[in-house]
């Protein structure tokens, strides 16, 4: 055992440290890709890293050229098998990772090392294509420091310096580069991407709402605390019950699942003019949407327009030109009081269609209620009353619905989540001949008291209905909201049903919970700032920043001028600091003693050029006996500082002090 340990320790000392920095840096750079890339590629990459480490430990040999080419072929095949393509974001990253690890098998010339380190930096940027959070940014800064250390270690060639000095050097270089990088970040003209159309990724998982709604779709989000988006209102915050964040309209129903027809029926890129009258005050806000890999954007009901690079659809959904793959920030105006489509009835029969044979009992109920009511509005109210009066419960874990979800929910179980209510309500409307659609989106949000903005989480996902009434246009109806608080199973859901009631009844959390909550808000605020200033910093934000500096309407030529002017200035400052003449550490002891001699010289007792300190004091003391004690003290201190094996503690300070006080 001891023998083995010693053998390993010996081999460990043999490893060349630059290689070690590189291997560790690369492994840490690849770590976030674990889980994102298929195991078919991650495992070989890890094996190749291990192989190189084994080679550095002098345990294994590197593969022959033949074997290397074979491995390249296998890597290509594995990538193809995983993605059926070699380009695009996912497949491209996978290919880069596996090829880089293969390059480790032939890394002996400086050029190979440069390629490996350069591509390792590139791996860091590929991680940012998937995750740009603050934590990931901090982690990657560490990785970049390690890779830079590898670069310094390799370029030092002969120098035998402790590796810690290399690490310190890399950190120093990065710190000196930081102001320059900041300037580039702020002033480099941002070009709105993409430069070419990106091949779509089948593989990347979308989060949040989908474009279909079947029982269970939304309730699965109810425990998901991930942030969907954050909102900062420019003025007054609208009341909680008006915070309906509009997402997609689902108009097609097959008896179980509601679908958004945009992909199939209508062109996604056709813009519509909406017949729309605002009746209240406008609400201005900036929304920062977390990437959800889908094309639709969210807006407060009802948006007055669409942000750049997006369009408004017929059902007033905001559809972006590209799917949201990175954090997206936009400023919008909405009216929470509005009239929409008040003119003629919607021509599209899709708002009325129900698949034949589904929900027979619901159709009977609809006919019955419609016959009893005076008009459409009255009918709508009667349906809501039905839900309120019958024993409907609101639960996160609704029972399974088997054959006819609508009928089973309305008449048998009567326990459901918002999607059940929205679905059943819309079916009842259509059954009575009222055009209706299901809307999905988010409802409510949590104010972050530390940052004065709203956090909307995936757990706030919601579904409601929109019904067209003659004379009033499309009206938003939230059937879930009519359920009395007493029939809400989970107290946490009360917020959604009746915010006022929830506020009254909420038990005061103990201090630990409060603290935890407060810390959560603090952390979210930091993340929000990160998103606002770093991730969301695009062309618009850049303009905003420059106009805040008093530079309105900067065209790109001026911006480049500004950039280079600033860069020149910062480089000059760094150079000034680097090239400043640093005076050598002077002989402080000698200087203090020289000052003492000068003082005596002014009194006509200069030290002779070859006179030692002892001789000098012996010559001077008889001439100025009143100074004897001081002269002896200074001379002794000087001698001890100069010649004693161990210098006295604070000797220099005492010597300086004594010389200062010495007044011959």
């Amino acid at each position: 055992m001891e023998h083995l340990r010693q053998a390993l320790a010996w081999r460990w000392r043999q490893v060349e440290r630059p290689q070690l920095w590189l291997l560790v840096g690369l492994a840490l750079a690849l770590l976030p890709h674990v889980g994102r890339l298929p195991w078919l590629l991650i495992l070989p990459a890890a094996l190749l890293l291990g192989w190189r480490l084994g080679f550095e430990l002098k345990l294994v040999r590197l593969p022959s050229q033949m074997l290397r080419w074979l491995l390249v072929g296998l890597a290509l095949a594995a990538t193809w098998a995983s993605y059926h393509t070699l380009i695009g974001r996912q497949a491209g990253v996978a290919l880069l990772v596996i090829m880089l690890c293969l390059k480790l098998m032939e890394m002996d010339r400086p050029r190979d090392v440069a390629i490996v380190i350069g591509l390792s930096y590139f791996v860091v940027i590929t991680v940012f294509l998937f995750d740009q959070s603050l934590l990931m940014g901090g982690y990657m800064l560490l990785v970049v420091t390690l890779l830079t250390t590898a670069l310094t270690a390799f370029s030092r060639a002969s120098a035998k310096l402790p590796q810690r000095a290399n690490l310190r050097l890399a950190a120093t270089l990065l710190a000196q580069a930081a102001p320059l990088a900041l300037l580039l970040f702020m002033l480099f003209p941002r070009i709105p991407g993409p430069l070419w159309h990106l091949p779509s990724d089948g593989g990347s998982a979308s989060t949040g709402l989908s474009d279909t709604m079947a029982p269970g779709n939304i309730s699965r989000l109810s425990d998901n605390g991930a942030v969907a988006f954050r909102v900062r209102f420019a003025g007054e915050t609208p009341p909680q019950d008006r915070l309906y964040w509009r997402g997609l309209a689902l108009t097609h129903f097959d008896g179980r699942t509601w679908r958004n027809p945009n992909e199939t029926r209508r062109g996604l890129d056709v813009s519509y003019d909406i017949e729309y009258t605002a009746t209240g005050a406008p609400v201005d806000y900036t929304l920062t949407l977390e990437p959800h890999q889908r094309r639709w954007l969210f807006a407060l009901d009802m948006p007055a327009g669409a942000p750049p690079r997006s369009r408004v659809s017929e059902d007033v959904e905001i559809i972006a030109r590209d799917s949201v793959k990175t954090l997206r920030q936009y400023t919008l105006r909405s009216y929470t009081e509005y009239r929409l489509g008040t003119g003629s009835a919607p021509r599209d029969f899709a708002y009325l269609s129900l698949p034949s044979g589904t929900a027979p009992r619901a159709r009977i109920l609809a006919r019955q209620l419609r016959a009893e009511s005076s008009d459409d509005a009255d009918y709508l109210q009667r349906v809501l009353d039905f839900i309120r009066q019958q024993p409907f419960y609101y639960t996160r874990r609704p029972p399974l619905l088997l054959d006819d979800p609508v009928d089973e929910f309305l008449f048998d179980n009567r326990r459901g989540f918002c999607e059940h209510y929205a679905s059943a309500f819309t079916v009842l409307m259509r059954a009575a001949g009222l055009p209706a659609r299901v809307m999905t989106g988010y409802q409510g949000g949590e104010n972050n008291p530390l940052g004065d903005y709203f956090i909307v989480r995936q757990s706030d996902a919601h579904a409601w209905s929109e019904v067209w009434l003659r004379g009033r246009g499309w009206v938003r109806v939230d059937p879930t909201a009519v359920i009395p608080p007493g029939r809400v199973e989970n107290p946490a859901d009360l917020e959604r049903i009746d915010p006022a009631y929830a506020a009254r009844t909420r038990e005061t959390p103990d201090w630990a919970k409060r603290l935890w909550r407060q810390m959560g808000f603090g952390w979210d605020r930091v993340n929000n700032a990160w998103n606002q200033w770093i991730i969301g910093y695009d062309q618009g934000a850049q303009r905003g920043f420059l106009s805040r500096l008093g530079l309105e309407d900067v065209d790109w030529q001026r911006m480049v001028g500004l950039l280079f002017g600033g860069l020149g200035l910062v480089v000059a400052l760094i150079a000034l600091q680097l090239f400043r003449h640093r005076p050598l550490r002077r002989d402080a002891v000698g200087e203090a003693y020289a000052r003492f001699c000068r003082k005596l010289a002014r009194r006509g007792l200069p030290r002779k050029p070859a006179e030692g300190a002892q001789d000098y004091s012996q010559r001077v003391i008889p001439r100025r006996p009143e100074l004897a004690a001081q002269i002896q003290h200074i001379t002794l201190l000087y001698q001890r500082l100069r010649y004693a094996r161990a210098a006295p503690r604070d000797g220099l300070r005492h010597l300086k002090q004594a010389v200062r006080r010495f007044r011959p």
């Binding site: 940027i125 940014g137 060639a157 002969s158 120098a159 270089l173 993409p194 991730i535 150079a575 050598l584």
Partner: protein, 331 residues
């Protein structure tokens, strides 16, 4: 130095010509360009920028800019790593043709920070050959011996020295030329063992050296001030018999004339043979002299005789000797 001179490409490629004393590397003598690795790094940075634009990745921009800024800072550091160094050379021991000269070069760093991984080599040497790396600590100096292969005999001006560094990241190479008003001496390559010209060995001159040599013990005489301490006979002093100096007899020293005429072949072959004879004669403690066309070095045997002879051989200019031989032959 005028602006035109300062910007001339010749200065860029060849430096500024020789100088006598220690040379300080000032701004205008230090050049800097990206290395091959640096260019590769630039290409990767460009790809990273394109990727960041295409995917609208803000942290991608941040990383790209951080690395770009890092390379700018590395450039400044590389430049600083050479700036202000003082370079000087000392005399190199002469060597024989085909051997390697070791030229002492001192690097002085008057600044407060260490200069790391400074490489030195003679500009004319092939890449990678005879390159010496050193670190120069702050406020200190180091001395290195720079190898220079001696390919031709004679006295040669010291070639230009290139000082270079890729510190700290290997992305930029800063370099400077140092040229000195100094020379190195290369003796001819000694021929393979060639017997000494025996016929001339026994032409002894009976006058000898009067017993001043150090070869054969001849007896003692009274000490005179100025006698070498190594020759004092300490044993007689210990016996209380006073100071005596050992006397060596040189009267039987073998004398040897190394004559150009005794050799055959072309100039370099003859010089090689003569060089070999000088070495052998020196080792064998002969009193020897050298006769070259147009130059004669008298008989002597002291440590400097070897140097004198070898230098004469090194600096020997050909052409004439053959004509002389011809004249002698004709008449």
């Amino acid at each position: 130095m005028s602006l035109i001179q300062r910007l001339s490409p010749a200065r860029f490629l060849r430096g500024e010509g020789p100088e006598a004393g220690p040379g300080k590397l000032r701004q205008r003598r230090v050049f800097i360009l990206p290395t091959r690795q640096g260019l590769l790094f630039a290409v990767i940075l460009l790809l990273m920028l394109i990727g960041s634009i295409n995917y609208d990745a803000s942290l991608g921009y941040a990383l790209t800019f951080l690395l770009a800024a890092l390379s700018v800072v590395a450039m400044l550091h590389a430049y600083r790593n050479l700036l202000g160094l003082r370079v000087d050379t000392g005399p190199a021991e002469p060597v024989f043709c085909g051997e390697t000269l070791r030229v002492p070069v001192s690097l002085e760093n008057p600044a407060g920070q260490t200069r790391f991984a400074v490489s030195l080599h003679f500009a004319e040497q092939k890449a990678g050959q005879g390159r010496v790396f050193c670190d120069v600590p702050a406020d200190s100096w180091v001395r290195v011996e720079l190898p220079l292969s001696a390919r031709r005999r004679g006295r040669h001006a010291l070639p230009r020295i290139t000082l270079a560094t890729v510190f700290p990241l290997g992305l930029f190479r800063a370099w400077a030329y140092a040229e000195f008003d100094a020379s190195v001496l290369v003796y001819p390559r000694p021929a393979r063992a060639t017997p000494l010209p025996r016929d001339s060995v026994w032409q002894t001159d009976l006058s000898g050296d009067g017993g001043q040599g150090a070869d054969d013990f001849a007896g003692l005489r009274n000490y005179q001030p100025g006698d070498a301490p190594g020759h004092v006979h300490w044993k007689t002093l210990a016996r209380g018999q006073g100071l005596h100096t050992k006397q060596f007899g040189g009267d039987h020293a073998e004398e040897l004339w190394l004559d150009w005429q005794a050799t055959a072949g072309d100039t370099e072959v003859r010089l090689s043979i003569l060089t070999r004879w000088v070495l052998d004669a020196d080792v064998a403690h002969y009193r020897y002299g050298l006769r070259l066309p147009g130059q004669t070095l008298p008989l002597a045997h002291d440590p400097r005789q070897r140097c004198r002879c070898l230098e004469a051989l090194a600096l020997f200019k050909g052409a004439e000797p053959d004509i002389i031989t011809l004249k002698e032959y004709l008449g």
